[in-house]
Symmetry: C2
Subunit: 242 residues, 2 copies
């Protein structure tokens, strides 16, 4: 298995992409599906989200849900919800932008530390020859939280698939594990982490630092343009029993 | 001072760019100027290099100087030359490609571990408000050698300029120093390092791991297109005495 890590999306992906957004969309999504959500749409547009019928609206501006939204995107706050059979739309600037750069891959999975083991298992089951671990980063630059998560995933893939060949930034990402034996510290020091600390959302960093707490892997099931704005739809997928 | 690190060039640089190519162009260039070279041109084209009159030709294909070339680009082999007053052209695929992405900056400096301290001093003297540490990477992906060097430069800038603000990948690069207290190990494990080891050029990795051995900073003094191919010209610059 060829395992590549891109510390920011570069495009041209064909097989399995694991899109990593540890703080926070990649952690929030499996948490929502754990709460029995049926489908999650991601879009960058508040306006578009408000126009979608029959969906819970999740989003934040400076840490607060915008007008008319049901919830923010704090995993700490979302963990206790009962979302049985509901559909939701999550408004985020970064994740949909990065999703636009991985379209064309056969499979697009959403991952974080929170579902790291499940994402590894499913990626290995789906991939024909190559897994691209693609980090969302923060503000258009590489960030510690996603790079460390790519390292966790890459080393776990190598442990399970002995014929793994690291290419691209995979070796660099794995090296970062030596600097941060405790993932929480990398998330705390990341630029995304600084942003959350400024908003006094430290508890979110703590939840996003939990490794392999969920068996759910959000997998892209569709993408549409609505008034020129992309909407990416995800459903829960679980790895086949090994 | 704002200090950014891009683990690959992204463009849009305006103030001071320190382009990092530790294995090997960023190490070879200061070594050549230490040997009293007057001017160094970088270009990706063997054919163009052969057409330039009166210049020493430096380059490699699979570790060997191409036909008609005077020298390879092994720093181990170049350290003993007397190049007093001569001009040279260095053919490299990666460095000129990355140079094309940093044009537009007021100053473009070439750096590695070998001239890390001098590059830091000069960058601080030249910058109005921002220093962009831009890594060349390897094969279009981020690599350990250049990212670690960016970390060395960023932490040295922060030590000397207490008002330094890290943005972009600067924090990530500095974190990598914790994983590699000995730079040689990062260079050894990098993909560029693996490439050199395959060519049995291990001694080059050893020289490129030397930190702050040169006071020379190659600074871009011009760029031209010759038959559509870019040629970037560098001259030696030294920091003003502090």
């Amino acid at each position: 298995m060829i395992v590549n890590a891109d510390l920011l999306p570069r495009g041209g992906y064909l097989d399995v992409v694991v899109l990593i957004d540890t703080l926070r969309a990649g952690t929030v999504a499996p948490i929502l599906f754990e709460r029995q959500l049926q489908e999650l749409a991601l879009t960058p547009s508040l306006k578009l989200a408000r126009a979608l019928d029959g969906r819970l609206l999740l989003g934040e501006r400076e840490g607060v849900p915008p007008e008319g939204f049901n919830y923010g995107i704090s995993p700490a706050a979302l963990r206790g919800l009962d979302l049985d059979g509901q559909r939701a739309v999550l408004v985020s600037e970064n994740a949909p932008t990065m999703l636009s750069r991985v379209q064309g891959a056969r499979h697009v999975l959403l991952a974080s530390l929170y579902n790291a083991a499940a994402a590894t298992t499913l990626a290995l089951q789906l991939a024909e020859a190559r897994i691209d671990l693609v980090c969302c980063g923060f503000g258009g630059a590489e960030d510690l939280d996603d790079t460390l998560t790519a390292g966790v995933l890459a080393s776990e893939i190598a442990r399970r698939a002995p014929d793994t060949e690291f290419v691209g930034g995979a070796g660099l990402a794995v090296s970062l594990l030596r600097a941060f034996p405790e993932p929480l510290e990398a998330l705390w020091q990341s630029r995304a982490g600084h942003y959350l600390r400024r908003l006094e959302l430290e508890q979110d960093i703590g939840i996003c630092a939990l490794v392999a707490h969920s068996e759910v892997v959000p997998a892209q099931v569709g993408a549409e343009l609505a008034n020129g704005t992309p909407v990416y739809r995800f459903a829960a997928q679980r790895a086949a029993p090994v």
